[in-house]
């Protein structure tokens, strides 16, 4: 016993809360960072590499950005993706807000089953969703030769179907923190149910709406599997286009396009977080 305590005493005195001084913790932290950001930083770095092959560094250039921006097919795919993501976001956030509100506000038979059914697509493998969507559109004979924005309708509908549950869950979670007395108070002051929803519930939901919108947008923007199955012959989205480009070779042009996409996502996320913070601050009362 005496020996044991003397051994302990000689050790470096690391306080019980000094986790950051422990080696294993530092290793884990560095390891996760490399694991998460190693590939992405390589991708970004080599988008500026003055060489056709992504192997050795040959100096800085922006020419692959120019090339990417001059590639009409790539730009078209990019525009398609943004358009699809935009409509997906709007529709799925509205649907999700309504579904979440109904689930939170009312009691009805089979409510648990309905709630489960809304969340289920999250765990259904994407490949199955994709095949099901393709079969569905073929079965109902959805026209595949519509003019431009409408030609994206199949993909958009499919994207709404799979991103809406994510948004619904986020908004539903936000509603849990809503003080029901706020709604009752508005009602007591003369508001109809609809008025309570607009004046009181929606402002509270806002951070959830923003988070849900961000989720839907990014889910839609980078979806490959479901898009691949539901895209008509003449519609290409950004991920699908990138896929077809790398089938021949990974060019810095692809790196450049991907970097632009990463930048765009980061900016959107930053805006969403800012909006959310402002809301949270107002909501604390």
């Amino acid at each position: 016993m005496a020996l044991l305590s003397r051994l302990r005493a000689r050790r470096e005195p690391i306080g019980p809360l000094d986790y950051y001084r422990k080696l294993w913790l530092r290793l884990i932290m560095i390891g996760t960072l490399i694991f998460l950001y190693g590939p992405i930083s390589t991708l970004i770095a080599f988008s500026f590499n003055d060489s056709r092959r992504n192997i050795v560094w040959r100096g800085f250039t922006l020419k692959y950005y120019e090339k990417a921006l001059e590639n009409d097919e790539l730009i078209e795919a990019f525009t398609n993706s943004l358009t699809i993501a935009f409509f997906t976001t709007i529709v799925s956030v509205i649907l999700a807000a309504l579904a979440a509100y109904v689930l939170w506000r009312f009691r009805f038979p089979f409510k648990a089953a309905y709630e489960g059914a809304v969340a289920l697509p999250i765990v259904i493998p994407e490949i199955c969703m994709g095949v099901a969507m393709m079969a569905f559109f073929a079965r109902i004979g959805w026209p595949s030769d519509l003019p431009w924005p409408l030609s994206l309708s199949q993909i958009t509908i499919a994207h709404i179907a799979f991103s809406f549950p994510f948004a619904a869950i986020v908004i539903r979670a936000r509603l849990e923190s809503f003080n029901r007395e706020l709604g009752e108070s508005a009602r007591d002051l003369g508001a109809s149910e609809a008025r309570v929803f607009w004046d009181i519930v929606v402002p509270h939901m806002k951070p959830g709406l923003i988070a849900g919108a961000l989720l839907s947008f990014t889910l839609s923007l980078d979806d490959f599997v479901i898009t691949f199955f539901t895209a008509g012959p003449n519609t290409v989205t950004f991920p699908v286009k990138v896929y077809s480009m790398v089938r021949f070779s990974v060019t810095p042009e692809v790196n450049a396009a991907s970097t632009i996409l990463i930048g765009l996502t980061l900016v959107l996320t930053a805006i969403a977080l800012r909006l959310q913070n402002r809301n949270n601050m107002n909501m604390q009362a």
């Binding site: 007395e181 508005a186 009602r187 007591d188 002051l189 003369g190 009362a285």
Partner: protein, 362 residues
């Protein structure tokens, strides 16, 4: 138009059973008069909030009728009732400024902007928040938020203002100040107040009449003094203030008198007719303590002092006379000295007048 003499709220045989099977309110009947400050008092979980929420329209009675201003409320939605409510959490809208909160009810009514602004200022002045209209709720203290909730409910000039435990979230000092202020406010606006509270001091000091509830049932409805001096059952006697209780047996002798026998106090005669088990009760401030045996028409017993607690203005003296619990006597420290001048263990007499004794049959 309803008669002005009619009660503003008339509740008849109202019951409420929640879907889970909890019977929160059980066959309650009561009237609230116009211009009255009415309190629903009872321990937590006795159904006070449920009763109040039925008045506001947020709970639907399982059976019974509720009339407000002579009108049956059965099919009237909460937003159409002539009552407004101050919620326990105050429920101040966090995304609206103080002025927007207070003006919300008028905005819904579609009043012109100018009228809203004037009436908001008037309502804020009434609750002494006149200078804070531009603040957001998260910049307010709990007491200020409560005033916002009050102003917001009063601005609609309801027939009845319902308040659910409005003071329970405030600290002791502020609570006392708000008690006085609520009474002042009620007199100023002349609106009927129905307040829910579990705090007997609050109810006694503020209300004109009080309904004491226990487990969904109203036990007694009376003014504060009557509740304190003439409770109609053990529950009310015990819940309102402190009381010494002695179990005994009553026997009516047929000519308007009843003989009550208790082990510690012997046989005592009271007016009225009662038979079977009863309790004799006496409030602590009515008990006198003395070294010598008191004389006169008194109930008296002797025993050792078990505890003395000094409270400054008065002291609590506990004397064990052999009953279930020691008798509590509140002794006013009327003269400047070191406490009541008794010692622990000292044998003392406790006594009180027969007419200060309560005979409780239930």
């Amino acid at each position: 138009m309803a008669d002005m003499q009619d009660p503003i709220i008339r509740i008849e045989n109202i019951c409420k059973t929640y879907p889970g099977g909890v019977q929160a309110v059980n066959n309650v009947s009561l009237n609230v008069n116009r211009g009255e400050f009415f309190a629903l008092l009872g321990p937590s979980g006795c159904g006070k909030t449920t009763l109040l929420r039925m008045m506001a329209g947020f709970e639907i009675p399982t059976s019974g009728t509720l009339l407000i201003d002579g009108q049956n409320m059965a099919d009237v939605q909460p937003n159409k009732r002539p009552v407004n409510m101050v919620f326990q959490s105050y429920a101040v809208f966090p995304h609206m400024s103080v002025a927007q909160n207070v003006g919300y009810g008028l905005k819904i009514e579609g009043r012109p902007k100018k009228e809203i602004a004037e009436r908001v200022q008037e309502a804020l002045d009434l609750v002494k928040l006149g200078h804070l209209g531009g603040r957001m709720p998260d910049e307010l203290s709990g007491g200020q938020r409560q005033r916002v909730a009050l102003a917001r409910a009063l601005i609609k000039r309801p027939s009845v203002l319902l308040l659910d435990e409005p003071l329970s979230a405030l600290d002791a000092k502020l609570r006392e100040a708000m008690q006085i202020e609520l009474v002042r406010l009620q007199k100023t606006v002349g609106i009927t107040f129905v307040i829910v509270t579990h705090d007997q001091d609050e109810a006694l000091s503020m209300a004109n009449r009080i309904a004491v509830m226990e487990q969904g049932v109203v036990k007694q409805i009376a003014g504060p003094a009557e509740l304190y001096e003439s409770p109609n059952c053990r529950f009310v006697a015990d819940f309102i203030g402190k009381i010494n209780l002695f179990d005994g047996q009553a026997k009516a002798n047929g000519n308007g008198k009843t003989l009550v026998e208790t082990p510690v106090l012997g046989k005592v005669e009271f007016g009225g007719d009662a038979n079977g088990p009863v309790s004799l009760g006496v409030r602590p401030e009515k008990v006198r303590v003395s070294r010598e045996k008191p004389s006169g028409n008194l109930l008296a017993a002797q025993g050792p002092v078990t505890d003395i607690a000094y409270y400054g203005g008065y002291s609590k003296v506990f004397v064990d006379i052999g009953a279930k619990e020691p008798v509590l006597a509140d002794i006013t420290n009327a003269e400047r000295s070191m406490g009541p001048g008794f010692e622990n263990g000292e044998k003392l007499w406790v006594s009180w007048r027969a007419e200060d004794t309560l005979v409780l049959t239930s």
